[in-house]
């Protein structure tokens, strides 16, 4: 599963092909709209007088076809949906903006891209709409500061999809929309027959086969379903850069256990080493210990400007109440999956999750779960709470080391359940100012920040 392509997630001069690809997408877009006749504003406006419902037919066929193909590919794990731009929901500004667009549509007779196709095929009204558009967008830019607060927060629901709204799965929504769309197409044809006296016998019979094919493909999406967590875990990819081997370096900094790294020989001695980017699977990341952060690094993360750590304690409530890191959030492993939608949408882009168990077994399971759900920037506290106490707990009173403890159990006994009120729960940054560790946290910025979408 390699799509969408990382190299095309945005345009960049580092990858000049990206401009061409997006240009071609636009070219196909404008071409198709003109071929459909949308250069002619009368065809567009006719929709709203029930003269001809071409706008509805084209739009909904396009949505239905794209949707079926998209979620079929997602179901087959060909496309990673977490890398697909989903417009965030801003209910208030969306609703008002939509109504205003409707007004502009019926007055102007176009929407933006149809006006482009119209203008570039010689229609003067298209050119005027386009010109007016530049003015309207400019006025918005100038007036937006008057309602900045409302614009940026009213009705904000984040990356919300219809399957989440209706508590069902995406394939079920797809099939529902396709079936409703097909019915509405039939209704549209009847309206055209009754209001505009359209002779339906002149419509191509092929369209019924097209409708049937689309319905079957939608059912196919349901059959394909959504990829299993196991399959998503297996297809997760991580990129790490490391200096290439040269005459100076004896071995790569990261002790990769399995496959040999692609090595580039640096021919410039004692200069800055070339960085080689490797792609690793989740299991490779685990066996190379690249996602285990020492208590020192986990502690220092709190004071770093660039990242925002969240200590995700996945132990049961009893252990959490005995001892937990200051500021830690308790989400027992059994409940972690249900918290995933919130973890995907709410935190800031520079959030780093550190899963915490008593040792590492439970925390690693939690890590695997989050990785399968494509939660970005997840790490594991190396050695868990036990190691944390061993590192910082020399001066703690009220806890005692146990001689023997089972795997993933607390190796200390506690006089009472003080939670985070031991001194080591929040080590002093002054006392522990100098701590050495090999950093493991590499911040991966989320794909759909401001870069995606039409905004």
């Amino acid at each position: 599963m390699n799509f969408p392509l990382d190299s095309l997630s945005a345009v960049s001069t580092a990858n000049p092909w990206s401009y061409l690809v997006f240009g071609l997408v636009g070219f196909a877009f404008g071409l198709t709209l003109e071929m459909a006749g949308f250069g002619d504003s009368r065809k567009l406006a006719g929709q709203f007088y029930f003269r001809e419902l071409t706008v509805f037919k084209v739009m909904f066929t396009a949505i239905a076809v794209a949707m079926v193909l998209l979620f079929g590919a997602v179901g087959l794990d060909v496309i990673d949906f977490s890398h697909v731009w989903v417009n965030p929901t801003y209910l208030d500004s969306g609703l008002l903006g939509g109504l205003i667009m409707g007004v502009g549509f019926i007055i102007g007779g176009f929407c933006p891209t149809t006006s482009l196709a119209s203008a570039s095929s010689g229609r003067i009204d298209g050119m005027m709409f386009m010109a007016g558009g530049f003015v309207g967008a400019f006025v918005f830019g100038e007036t937006e500061q008057l309602f900045d607060g409302w614009y940026n927060s009213a009705g904000y629901l984040g990356r919300l999809t219809l399957d989440q709204v209706f508590s069902t799965t995406a394939p079920m929504v797809v099939v529902a929309i396709v079936l409703v769309a097909l019915v509405l197409m039939w209704v549209a044809e009847q309206i055209e027959r009754v209001v505009a006296n359209k002779d339906l016998a002149s419509e191509p019979a092929l369209r019924k086969y097209g409708a049937l094919t689309l319905a079957l493909m939608a059912l196919g999406v349901v059959v394909i379903g959504t990829p299993s967590l196991e399959s998503r875990y297996q297809s997760a990819q991580f990129k790490r850069s490391e200096p290439a081997l040269s005459a100076g370096n004896a071995k790569p900094l990261m002790g990769a256990a399995s496959a040999p790294a692609p090595i580039a020989q640096s021919t410039v001695p004692a200069a800055k080493p070339q960085m080689v980017t490797r792609t690793l699977s989740a299991d490779e990341m685990l066996s190379a210990r690249l996602v285990y952060v020492t208590p020192a690094e986990a502690f220092k993360a709190r004071f770093q400007q660039s990242i925002k750590p969240i200590y995700l304690d996945v132990r049961n409530e009893a252990d959490f109440n005995l001892y937990h890191l200051a500021g830690a959030v308790n989400v027992p492993l059994a409940h972690l999956q249900s918290k995933v939608p919130a973890l995907l949408t709410e935190p800031a882009a520079n959030t780093v999750f550190i899963t915490i168990g008593n040792d590492e077994k439970m925390a690693t399971q939690a890590w695997k779960l989050l990785v399968a759900n494509r939660v970005p920037n997840v790490y594991i506290l190396e050695g868990g709470v036990n190691q944390w106490i061993a590192t910082f707990g020399a001066e703690d009173t009220g806890l005692k080391a146990l001689v023997k403890a089972d795997d993933d159990q607390l190796r200390y006994s506690f006089a009472s359940a003080l939670g985070d009120r031991y001194k080591s729960c929040a080590p002093s940054p002054i006392e522990y100012e100098k701590l050495s560790f090999e950093p493991r946290i590499v911040l991966q910025l989320k794909r759909d920040k401001g870069g995606g979408g039409c905004g």
């Binding site: 799509f3 969408p4 990206s18 997006f22 997408v25 636009g26 877009f29 198709t32 709209l33 003109e34 250069g39 504003s41 406006a45 037919k57 084209v58 066929t61 396009a62 076809v65 794209a66 193909l69 998209l70 731009w85 989903v86 417009n87 929901t89 801003y90 969306g94 609703l95 903006g97 939509g98 667009m101 409707g102 502009g104 549509f105 007055i107 929407c111 933006p112 482009l116 119209s118 095929s121 229609r123 009204d125 005027m128 709409f129 010109a131 007016g132 530049f134 003015v135 309207g136 967008a137 830019g141 500061q145 219809l162 929504v173 369209r207 401001g450 870069g451 995606g452 979408g453 039409c454």
Partner: protein, 179 residues
């Protein structure tokens, strides 16, 4: 020269059937998602072109206007965004299709009861209003309705319904423009 002239005098061809055009558009949209993770869009480019023009003439103003600052503040190039090549590609695509299908004509399409001048004015006004609303909604029929619709984005479906509602509600009152 004659070759160019004959290019612009091709016989006018029929439009694509709506379902076929829709299917093709759907495939284009899907390929965009597959390759780039982005769908289609348009109004964002208009804002960015505006921002670039303002930045050229009054860069200090850009740094004082939050909406422009996001796109063009400091050294940021507002035109260096995926949606801008899409915008220009669409212009070119419309042009090529118009010429190829013998539909390239310097003409004004309008309802039978109004003059060309009235149509131009209304087209300009409609464009202003539409793009104002599009930026408020963070996308237009392509960016929100088509692309967001296909990804099942809840807000996009709301926006799509709002667009149709707004147009239908006003249609009767502006029927002189079209009927």
């Amino acid at each position: 020269m004659n070759a160019i002239r004959s290019l612009f005098r091709r016989p006018e061809k029929a439009y694509l059937h709506p379902y076929l055009a829709g299917a093709i558009l759907g495939v284009v949209l899907f390929l965009a998602f597959l390759l780039t993770g982005n769908g289609l869009g348009s109004s964002g480019a208009t804002s960015r072109i505006d921002a670039a023009l303002v930045d050229l003439v009054a860069p200090a103003h850009v740094d004082q206007t939050p909406y422009l600052l996001k796109m063009a503040g400091g050294n940021k190039n507002p035109l260096d965004d995926w949606i801008v090549p899409v915008f220009f590609g669409a212009l070119l695509g419309g042009f090529v299709s118009g010429v190829w299908n013998g539909r390239f004509k310097l003409v004004t399409n309008k309802g039978p009861r109004i003059s060309n001048r009235m149509r131009w004015f209304m087209a300009f006004l409609g464009g202003m209003i539409f793009l104002y609303g599009a930026r408020m909604a963070r996308g237009c029929t392509s960016g929100q309705a088509l692309s967001g619709g296909a990804t099942l984005a809840a807000g996009s479906w709301v926006i799509m319904l709002a667009i149709f509602t707004g147009a239908y509600l006003l249609a009767y009152f502006v029927r002189k423009l079209w009927t």
